[in-house]
Symmetry: D2
Subunit: 305 residues, 4 copies
């Protein structure tokens, strides 16, 4: 941290210790966990230093490569500390409700997850829109699918103003027919934060811009009449039922996240967004990046053991 | 046409001649143009018969392959008749306004076109969602870009219930950095018909579900401060101005289309959606189909001379 | 009917008999019911002639005065025919669902009904906005309350361009604390058709502009903790639960209305919108008119026996 | 202030002096202005004490009666201090834009102002919904009309749960045909904050819930063809043009208000929301209260000299 940033912080939060020296923090016996909120390229080195002494919370995206992520995992294992990845959306009441709806048996098998995450700016200096915005959806997906990782990713995108893509489209292909897709865009005239999530027996819309009814559950479904998908004519059955917007708690996600991390550190609870979630997201991003460079060719997502 | 369908039509529209015999229509000297609204697979054969005697209007998609489309073009040239493709959206006041906005010099160069065209059902029997819904956007794009055809297409999608895809994503890559993307889906719980269209100096949202304000023009733009896209830090300039929803005429698209076709047939006007538009759309669909089968690998769009 | 209007109708609907002579219709033994869709001022005289021979369906508003409405009722009783009032909204799936929700025991007592029914134009030539648009809400209210009539009405409004009010507000005061209010306006820049309907234990929003989710039911309520409304501090309990938008049939209201009328005429079913509904609406409108002329002073709604 | 509230404030804002003694504040030579944010019933007495020594900012509503408001005005005049009324909405960018649009010559004469200000809760302990929510609209109206006060007010409402009305409707009648109306409601299932404002040549919608496009200006108007409002048929001319949502500054209202008050106190600027605005609002509320008690009879708004 630049030293000139310390004075205003000390003035505003006089009860808080502020320092520009990581070592001071690492030596402080009162500190259990170090949060790393710095440019992505510095995550690996800073986290490595912190892991030696403390638990660590790292901002998303965890690292720039799957290799770095695995190195952190191994170091943390050896040091016996826990790495948390700051996937804040996972702690929002809306995403928790989404996970609950998808896990319920009446949702049917998940068919697709379609996210639009677009707005005007802000262009990042160090990462493209893929690495800036897509981690939110990949983290949500990791959580909602109980830790599944896509088999392959196809990604297209364009860098209109610099070397970094400002618009991109990711299609995640799973081993079954679940197909998530994410549209990320820094050039949109309106802010959209909307997910369509289709199951065989229920469907869901998650509109994060809606101040109250963020989750809408549709009792709608499609099924094949008869068992033969090759039958002609194809007889589809549509079920159109009620829509429900469940009441959501108004608790702030960050508060829930901090409480959860405290429970993990102090009481040994299992992290919701630990290193495995971080690795799943980074492996997917890395494959997306390679696909982008090859014009959309699907790239396998590989997580070395 | 099945003969049993004739009676109710004759009862309801007694002034209209109804027949199940194409030849009767083709022999009728009062008929200038034959409209073909049949399953796609029959388009080529029926149009070929009609071309010998009449001008022809063919429903979208024009044909199942670029080869068929070219064969129709050549036959029509030899017969001296005109082929119209029923790209109805091109005649809507909203799409006309969109074309006008994009063509104006203050729009800047087009950066992207992002369309979401989703709803629940109806599953088609003979074509996938790509061939059913994407032609609308490809036709709009052909019109709005004054006839440009993408260089390559990347397409991903999944067939959840039959052999035909029910959800698909197409990215069109142009020779410059214009990047259209289309999301088509028969499995969505809500009906969305929305296009985001970004230019370097203006942006536009086309919401076809809005009964009145279908087009919203945003006086927003992004530009690089300085000329060096490799500069660090990257200095982006955002312009945020007013939004305008222009008043649109309420004329029905079908009425405008029919009047336009009459003007072409009777007075020799140039077709807005002639065989060239049809060929551009079919060539793109064919490339998309091949990309879909190869997991998203970008496929060149080729139109043989 | 003006005779020159007959020709185009005959051309378009050749199976339909068209005449400009009411007597011809009244003499026709194949006719069971005469529908009167003419300017309001002619309703009484035309209906009186028709009643002598046929059942009658009269467009809303039934008449210009409660006296005329009662005269029609008496004449119909003597002639043994039925009068139907064309309160089409009562036959929409949305209003039927609304009535069902309000009647259910878990709705609690109705607290208020607040309707906004505004748009730009069309100015009527013969009636103010009160007599043009408010009948829709008064008819819905009559249906939803199972035939209750307000005790008093307070109405304010202004005529900006002619002698006829173009904006008006009606408050209906019932003997209990149910309080409907209607805002009608020909001068609004946007079209709004929205009703808020509050019960003690559930609440409802009816948005007729929403193509699909016209009815939204909120599991929300307010109640007093303890029994003493004079207690200080007042302890209110808010219940905030889920919102549900029930699926509605897509049947056209006019079709349901015609079927219902046929069932009444042919099979003796009880009319949903008979003369009593018409009288309730007209008595309320007449009181509203008098209140309007007196600057909002509440006027009693009186229905002579 | 209760003394036990001081400790947490001191802990959180250590740089701020906190005291439970008004006299300490009034004696402090560094204090120029005292802000009174207490229950309404205490406003008069506290403001009277403060006026003797300081400028005063009073929360809305200023007082419980026009008599109290005039007493404050007279005391402030004698003491040579300024009273500010905390009409925060007047300092929002949206309301400032609204005032600017209405004042422009192309708006035409204002025809109506229709506000819906409803939500679920919070029931106030000391004032009805009229005194709680209507002051916002009355303050906006006072500002937008450059200080006009209505001639008469008609108000209806119902107290469903206590002695205080929880739903109410106010119609303000001006000497010309401008007619504002305000719907305030603590029992609505959804939060609405919307104003329709109609001029003879332009119209405006102010939706305070919209995070970005709070103001929409419609280039729409109605006029009489010919000059004779008694002509039959009445020929109305409707002009339907574009809609524009002007970009609004994102400055916080409270910041602008504080800066404005500082400019008044330190540099002698003229208060936007001074005692005259407070008196206009309170006189209107008092008339509304009396109308409410008389079932909607219009009551004159009187401001004693």
């Amino acid at each position: 941290m630049r030293a000139e940033r310390l004075a205003p912080i000390r003035r505003r939060y006089p009860a808080v210790k502020a320092t520009a020296q990581l070592d001071e923090v690492l030596r402080d016996p009162q500190v259990d966990l170090v949060a790393i909120a710095t440019p992505v390229d510095s995550h690996r080195a800073l986290a490595m230093r912190a892991i030696a002494a403390k638990h660590v919370l790292v901002e998303k995206p965890l690292t720039r490569s799957i290799g770095d992520a695995l190195a952190l995992r191994d170091a943390a294992r050896r040091a016996g500390v826990t790495i948390f990845v700051d996937h804040t959306f996972v702690f929002t009441p809306a995403v928790r409700k989404m996970a609950e709806v998808v896990a319920a048996p009446d949702f049917g098998r998940p068919l697709y997850y379609d996210s639009v995450r677009v707005n005007l700016g802000l262009f990042q200096q160090d990462v493209s829109v893929v690495w800036d915005l897509a981690p939110h959806d990949l983290a949500i997906l990791h959580h909602v699918t109980s830790g599944r990782v896509p088999a392959r990713v196809s990604c297209t995108g364009v860098a209109h103003f610099s070397a970094l893509e400002d618009i991109a489209y990711l299609t995640m292909l799973y081993d079954d027919d679940f197909v998530p897709h994410v549209h990320v865009n820094w050039l949109a005239p309106v802010k959209v934060r909307q997910v369509l999530l289709g199951g065989a027996r229920k469907m869901l819309v998650y509109n994060d811009n809606d101040p109250v009814e963020k989750i809408r559950i549709y009792d709608k479904g499609v099924s094949l009449q008869g068992d033969d998908p090759a039958a002609t004519p194809l007889l589809m059955e549509y079920r159109i039922g009620d829509m429900t917007a469940p009441v959501l708690p108004t608790t702030e996600a960050l508060k829930l996240e901090v409480e959860h991390i405290a429970a993990c550190v102090l009481d040994g609870a299992t992290p919701l967004c630990g290193i495995e979630a971080g690795i799943g997201v980074i492996a997917t991003l890395e494959a997306a990046q390679r696909s982008l460079e090859r014009g959309g060719t699907a790239i396998e997502v590989v997580i070395p053991a």
